[in-house]
Amino acid sequence: MITIRLRKKRISRSWMGDVFLFLLLAAVGYFMAMPLVFVISNAFKPINEILKFPPDFLVKNPTFTNFTDLYHLLSGSWVPFTRYIYNTFFIAIVGTVGHVLIASLAAYPLAKRKFPGKGFLFTIVVLSLMFSATVTQITNYMTMSWLGFLDTHWAVIIPAIGSSLGLYLMKQFMEQIPDALLEAAQIDGCSEVRIFWSVVMPVVKPAWLTLVIFSFQGLWGAGGAAGSMYIYSEQLKTIDYALSQILAGGIARTGPSMAATLLLLTVPILIFVLSQSSVIQTMSTSGMKE
């Protein structure tokens, strides 16, 4: 009797519970997926289906007209579309790499080492998580103009590098690293920076990949809100801005704007899918437990 219990990995569960949880999952999944299916479907609708009454939810005769229209619309604009793409990628990539590196570098001492002022610094980080970004916009604007960051990409990139969310998340994960691992490295004569880079970072790979997802996604869409605040030059703006210009065109541009939304969506989702597979697989085998 006891041996059977021991061998069983999972405890008994009722099928009622299974059905209930599955139905819950299906209902929420439908609610979550529906608008996105709508975006994809509309992006491929020809104009007569977009303006049809009553409208169909799914596309009947899919076409690429919206994408070609979008291309024509954008190539007619004063700033070439590739410029917007370059701006968006530049902000997203530089910001993400910088944030992951610098936030992890700071998280390691906070999580694993003792030094004066540590508690105080971490308390401030936690408190700052509770501040809505809007609050700091006005005073940030003044700082930016004083530092000469206004109307450059750095106005968006630099604050993102120092955002407290990543530090907090990395610290939470790094705390789970066994001390024995770090001591072993120390005995081998590694410097702190070396321990961080060759021991800690490989072990917390799932954590910083998660951080890559958050940061990239935040910066990818940042052109809209933060960008319009600090960046005025047309040639420095991002795809998000270009999209909002198309959306402003009204009902006749529904098709191209849906196509643009779909294109804009694809990149973060791709990044997510690529990094997620490694997040989930390395997570259970990362050997972080003592």
């Binding site: 996105l36 610098i102 001492p109 030094f115 700091t136 939470q172 958050f214 259970s284």
Partner: protein, 317 residues
């Protein structure tokens, strides 16, 4: 080391202050590598987060229009906010209703969904995660809700309701006060399975499997007991993280509200504290007043965080 702790416990007087400072300095210089490691982050963090917040607190006690030097007015901004500003009271009410619904609902949904998904085989798990996380990933794609709720008969919700003869004429969804807040809540819920959801999934993945086996031997009978006595207590750091994020998000709603209901919305039905803040901060340039609004918002977030911290400490008891 022991000596150091003893000495630091001594009372401050002129004789001990100097050696104490010396010791402190020794300790600081011993750890200079660590300070060098945290320096880049904290330099940026202080410049773009701490400094603006402190400035904002200071400015909230002044009358400041960005052109003239700020004039100290004490608590006047706060008094005006609660006594004379009717629109602020509407915004406060909306934000509280909004936070009271979206905060707990999305927090619990994040955890429950992550928990269910966690039991699936890896391939299905990856797909389900994508479905739930995609809206939060999609950035400004929530704009599609304006098409769904658009006011004419081409709006999809209207069109379907008309087709099924549930309504006789199109409803002005985003122009009718009583519908505006519920619609914003729905869209925000759709967007809200984000950061904390992913953090929960990562946290669940990292749980120690032997704990569950030990629990089964100790007499845990069903999954609900397992959840309450093992999973939740071991997830506490992640739960805390999720709570902080979710509270900030549900009190800070503004973007969705302005994108859907316009700014200002009809009869201020979609007005929140942050839109009120934006109104005074970036349109009227009354910085002192805007900062006072921001401070009130911060106090609310801090208060609810403390309450949630208390509640989370009780988990699994």
């Amino acid at each position: 080391m022991i000596q150091l702790v003893k000495k630091s416990k001594l009372k401050l007087d002129s004789k001990t202050l100097r050696p104490r400072l010396n010791l402190k300095w020794k300790e600081v210089s011993k750890n200079k590598v660590l300070y060098a490691m945290i320096a880049p982050f904290f330099l940026i963090f202080f410049t773009f987060t701490v400094l603006p917040v402190c400035l904002s607190l200071l400015v909230s006690f002044t009358n400041f229009n960005m052109l003239e030097f700020p004039k100290w007015v004490g608590w006047r901004n706060y008094a005006q906010l609660f006594v004379r500003d009717d629109v602020f009271l509407i915004a406060l009410k909306n934000t509280l209703i909004f936070a009271a619904i979206t905060g707990p609902v999305s927090y619990i949904a994040c955890f429950v969904l992550a928990w269910i998904i966690n039991e699936f085989p890896p391939k299905i798990r990856a797909f389900a995660t994508l479905v739930f996380y995609a809206p939060a990933l999609s950035g400004s794609a929530f704009i599609v809700w304006t098409l769904l709720f658009s006011s004419d008969s081409y709006g999809y919700i209207n069109a379907f309701l008309l087709k099924w003869h549930l309504i006789l004429e199109p409803i002005l969804w985003l122009k009718t006060p009583k519908y505006i807040l519920p619609i914003i809540i729905i869209v925000q819920l759709w967007l809200s399975l984000g950061t904390s959801f992913l953090a929960f999934i990562a946290g669940l993945q990292g749980l120690d499997k032997t704990l569950f086996e030990a629990g089964a031997i100790d007499g845990i009978r069903n999954r609900w007991q397992e959840l309450w006595f093992i999973t939740l207590p071991s997830m506490r750091p992640m739960l805390m993280f999720g709570a902080v994020i979710q509270i900030t998000a549900s009190f800070g709603v503004a973007e969705v509200a302005t994108a859907l209901a316009g700014f200002p919305s009809v009869k201020y039905a979609g007005h929140t504290i942050v839109t009120h803040l934006m109104d005074y901060g970036s349109i009227r340039f009354e910085m002192g007043y805007a900062s006072a609004i921001a401070t009130v918002l911060f106090a609310m977030m801090l208060g609810s965080n403390l309450i949630v911290r208390r509640l989370l400490a009780k988990v699994g008891e």
